[in-house]
């Protein structure tokens, strides 16, 4: 029987606000003053350490807001007005720098401060709750729990708080904060011409999005074509790997094939070698003057070099083929286990009916595999949309063409994003593309999420 989580729990935020209002209505003087002076109720009821901690947090927060955050938050709407200036000082015969605003820091610290404010609100609510709890304990005549006892609950009833605090801080600092920052950047004009502190950037609304879709012909043309190639690439990369990998797995797992472990290890070795090594090696092998071209010429197969990575059509085919080399072992690994789960009697009855191996593959293996591995297929499709390594290490997105904006013919959206960020410092455009990639990946992942039973029936397993 599936156990269900009570529905009310998901409506946390509304319940939270109502709870606070109720506390204010029912609280006595000490509890009510805790709304303004944190920890007041606790201190009054002799929970000194806890109360003082709340008070210290409040003081520190106010000091932070007034002393530090204020100067950034106040400029958030304009992202700064005064750029740093360098003026020739006649008197001192040097350039004097007048420090100005820095849009980047204003935005970064503002986002940080807003996250801190949200965190503070949560602590404030916890403060009110514990003050109210202390009030109720007093009313019932129960002894107040000591600080030591409350710390102890962090190892048992409230163990999740202990466990989540540090990881959440890491995630907030290195994932959430940067992502919010970059999403906001998509609404500014932060590019190579607006580099603070020398030049400030400011809000431009949806200009970057309209640029990408229609208003800037060069960018929207590039975007459309790169998106097209990204999808073509993802389709080819996913399905070639899927089918060939499955065939490899079928061959290795066939009854009667000896040394299964050895075959599997041989193919695993190629994916165990770090990708930057194997792919850079491949790009050297396939170079115009690389060993493959040299050998083919020496063997008399070709007269002149084949531009594996420098001609548009060749390069596109090459990346797909090299991706087969890279990707088949992964599919082999993944499908091996599932193949062994296909009921053997299906094959037995098929062979009694005289079905050929090819027919068995298309009538039994493939439908079964497609049914079981559709989530994996979509995941790997998303993975291929974001397949940075294969493209960047092989062709660097090249061959470059002039009708693309800072991109080449094999560039995917993510490699274009990378180039715009690192080489061209066009952060605002890069962020816009990033958001778009997110939308594609998120909608595909949503499909997977709804399809995979293991998520829906999570509680059943336990």
């Amino acid at each position: 029987m599936p156990k269900l989580i009570p529905a009310g729990r998901d409506r946390q935020s509304f319940a939270g606000i109502r709870e606070i209002i109720n506390i204010f209505k029912r609280g006595d003087f000490a509890t009510r003053s805790s709304f303004l002076i944190m920890g007041f109720g606790c201190i009054k009821r002799k929970q000194y350490i806890k109360g003082l901690l709340y008070l210290i947090i409040q003081v520190a927060f106010i000091a932070y807001m007034l002393g530090f955050a204020n100067q950034y938050l106040s400029k958030l709407s304009t992202l700064g007005t005064e750029a740093m200036r360098r003026e020739w000082s006649e008197a001192r015969q040097i350039f004097v720098r007048t420090p100005g605003d820095n849009s980047m820091l204003i935005l970064l610290f503002s986002v940080m401060s807003i996250l801190l404010i949200i965190a503070f609100i949560f602590i404030w609510r916890a403060n009110i709750r514990s003050c109210y709890k202390a009030q109720q304990y007093e009313k019932l005549g129960k002894p107040q729990p000591t600080f030591k006892a409350e710390i102890k609950t962090l190892l048992n009833e409230r163990f999740h708080i202990t466990m989540l605090t540090v990881p959440s801080l890491m995630i907030v600092a290195f994932t959430i904060l940067p992502i919010i920052f970059m999403i906001l950047i998509a609404f500014t004009n932060f590019d190579a011409n607006h580099q603070p502190p020398g030049k400030l950037f400011t809000w431009v609304g949806f200009k970057n999005f309209t640029d990408v879709f229609w208003s800037d012909p060069l960018i929207s043309n590039t975007f459309g074509k790169i998106l097209g190639w990204t999808l073509i690439w993802a389709v080819f990369a996913t399905f070639t790997n899927y089918f060939f990998g499955m065939i490899l797995a079928i061959m290795i797992n066939k009854k009667g094939v000896r040394l299964k472990k050895m075959w599997r290890t041989i193919f695993v070795i190629t994916i165990a070698v770090p990708q930057f090594v194997s792919l850079m090696l491949m790009s050297q092998i396939l170079h115009d003057q690389g060993p493959l071209n040299m050998l083919l010429q020496k063997w008399g197969f070709i007269e002149s070099n084949i531009p594996f990575l420098t001609d548009i059509t060749y390069a596109r085919i090459t990346v797909i083929i090299v991706n087969i080399w890279v990707g088949i072992p992964y599919t082999m690994l993944i499908t091996s286990g599932i193949l062994m789960n296909i009921p053997a009697d299906l094959y037995e009855s098929a062979s009694i009916d005289g079905a050929s191996p090819a027919r068995m593959f298309f009538s039994i293996t493939l439908p079964y595999m497609l049914f079981v591995t559709t989530p994996y297929l979509i995941t790997s499709f998303v993975g291929n949309i974001n397949n940075f390594n294969v493209i960047y290490l092989l062709t660097k997105g090249g061959p470059l063409v002039t009708d693309y904006y800072q991109a080449g013919k094999t560039d995917l959206l993510v490699t274009w994003l990378y180039k715009l960020t690192v080489d061209k410092q066009n952060y605002s455009l890069a962020s816009t593309i990033g958001i778009f990639v997110f939308v594609i990946c998120a909608s595909l992942s949503l499909v997977v999420y709804n399809m995979s039973g293991s998520v829906k029936r999570e509680e059943e397993f336990q």
């Binding site: 989540l164 904060l177 190629t270 091996s336 994003l417």
Partner: protein, 418 residues
């Protein structure tokens, strides 16, 4: 149960015929020669006697002849051992035909016969024929023995897949400098590439990078493993308000392209004064790795909850259950988590390049090796790049092979049986 099946005799009797065709196909090149300065026989003999290296061109012929003899013997008195020998012989014949085909042009040029007078294409036809027929011969031999023919395809694929890796390893021992050589096997072998990697450190300080990476990897491993296990346990075992919300946020965050935010990460690190330091790398890799807790959670989900309940009745707290019950019974997943976290710093070159910029001393091996292949260094450093890559690849490969089982579980998303 495996039945001891008898050999398929009609197939065995076909083998001498096929071996004969194999031999005849080798004569194909001599059928037509665009005679310029002598008769057909003259050129053929001149070719065969011109150079000791021509052994490789004679080898397919010798092997084909031996195969023919053996197949006649086998057909007269069929037994399994002979057939295995036969299959191996055919395989050797195929390989030698391929080698010969690939080197034919060079050998003929070397023997002083110009291509115009001796058409390479004709030689190739013969060798192609030889190769294809010996493939058929292998398949028939395998069929005759009731062995799967998949061995043929698997061998070909295995060699295609291993060839680049093999090339990497032999190039790391190559004596000649330079990026590209017009030949596959090096002319001389040396250990210099490895020793110079560690002695010539003015420009590319490989030992330092290796130590950097090791230090970063160890700390990342400790931090990430503990945090991932904490998150996995919390979401698997503890029930608290907003648990679902937290998990959904985690899912959504994972869908943003990772390096979209790396510039912001760099500025955050700069703001707290940690940019261009190894600590920042540890923080970044940990921050990126923490969200990969779902595999460990899936594993914890499979540990029976009755264990927890029994422990709770005995008065154990949640933290005791985590430390004394869950962790000891999930050794494989702890190893998996630790190894994946350990590998990350060895293979990433994107975040390092953004964070370290031009601070060569604080590079990790991946970025360092990447720099070696830039246009101005590639000639001098290519063999050393290969040597360094081998030194990185060996430990990572061994670790990856150890965790491959869990890799599968991670991608498919199902529960892993411990």
């Amino acid at each position: 149960m495996r039945k001891n099946k008898s050999l398929r005799l009609p197939l065995v009797r076909m083998l001498p015929m096929i071996a004969l065709i194999m031999c005849l196909s080798l004569l194909l090149p001599w059928v037509y020669i665009d005679v310029g300065e002598g008769a057909l026989g003259y050129n053929a003999i001149k070719l065969l006697n011109s150079d000791a290296r021509l052994l490789s061109i004679k080898l397919p012929a010798i092997l084909a002849a031996v195969s023919l003899l053996l197949s006649i013997l086998t057909a007269l008195k069929p037994n399994k051992k002979m057939l295995i020998l036969q299959a191996l012989l055919f395989a050797a014949g195929t390989i030698s035909a391929v080698v010969c085909m690939l080197t034919a042009k060079e050998l003929i040029t070397a023997s002083g016969i110009s291509i115009r007078t001796f058409k390479i294409s004709h030689l190739s036809y013969g060798l192609w024929g030889n190769m294809i027929i010996s493939f058929i011969a292998i398949v028939i031999t395998l069929k005759a023995m009731h062995e799967p023919v998949e061995y043929v395809a698997l061998s070909i694929m295995a060699s295609v897949w291993l060839l680049p890796i093999f090339w990497l390893v032999i190039t790391s021992f190559r004596q000649e400098a330079g990026a590209y050589t017009p030949y596959l096997l090096p002319k001389g072998y040396t250990m210099d590439n490895f020793s110079r990697l560690f002695t010539e450190t003015q420009q590319f300080n490989f030992p330092r990078w290796y130590m950097n990476t090791l230090v970063v990897a160890i700390f990342t491993c400790i931090l990430t493993t503990s945090m991932v296990l904490m998150l996995a346990y919390t979401f698997s075992r503890l029930r608290f308000p907003s648990r679902k919300t937290f998990m959904n946020i985690g899912l959504i965050l994972g869908m943003f392209p990772g390096f979209m935010s790396m510039i912001a990460v760099y500025h955050i690190l700069k703001a707290i004064g940690l940019a261009k330091s190894l600590i920042s790398l540890v923080l970044v890799y940990t921050g990126g790795g923490v969200l990969n807790y779902l595999i460990a959670k899936g594993f914890f989900d499979t540990i029976p909850k009755s264990l927890d309940e029994a422990a709770t009745l005995d008065g154990a707290s949640k933290s005791t259950i985590f430390r004394k019950i869950i962790l000891p019974s999930s050794k494989p997943i702890v190893v998996y988590t630790a190894i994946t976290a350990f590998i990350a710093p060895w293979v990433d070159f994107i975040f390092v390049s953004v964070i370290m910029k031009d601070d060569y001393q604080n590079y990790t091996v991946a970025l360092g090796l990447y720099r070696m292949l830039e246009r101005e260094h590639i000639y001098d450093y290519f063999t050393r790049f290969c040597a360094g890559a081998v030194l990185v690849a060996i430990p990572i490969t061994l670790l990856f092979i150890k965790i491959q089982k869990f890799y599968v579980a991670g991608v498919v998303g199902g529960a892993v049986k411990g």
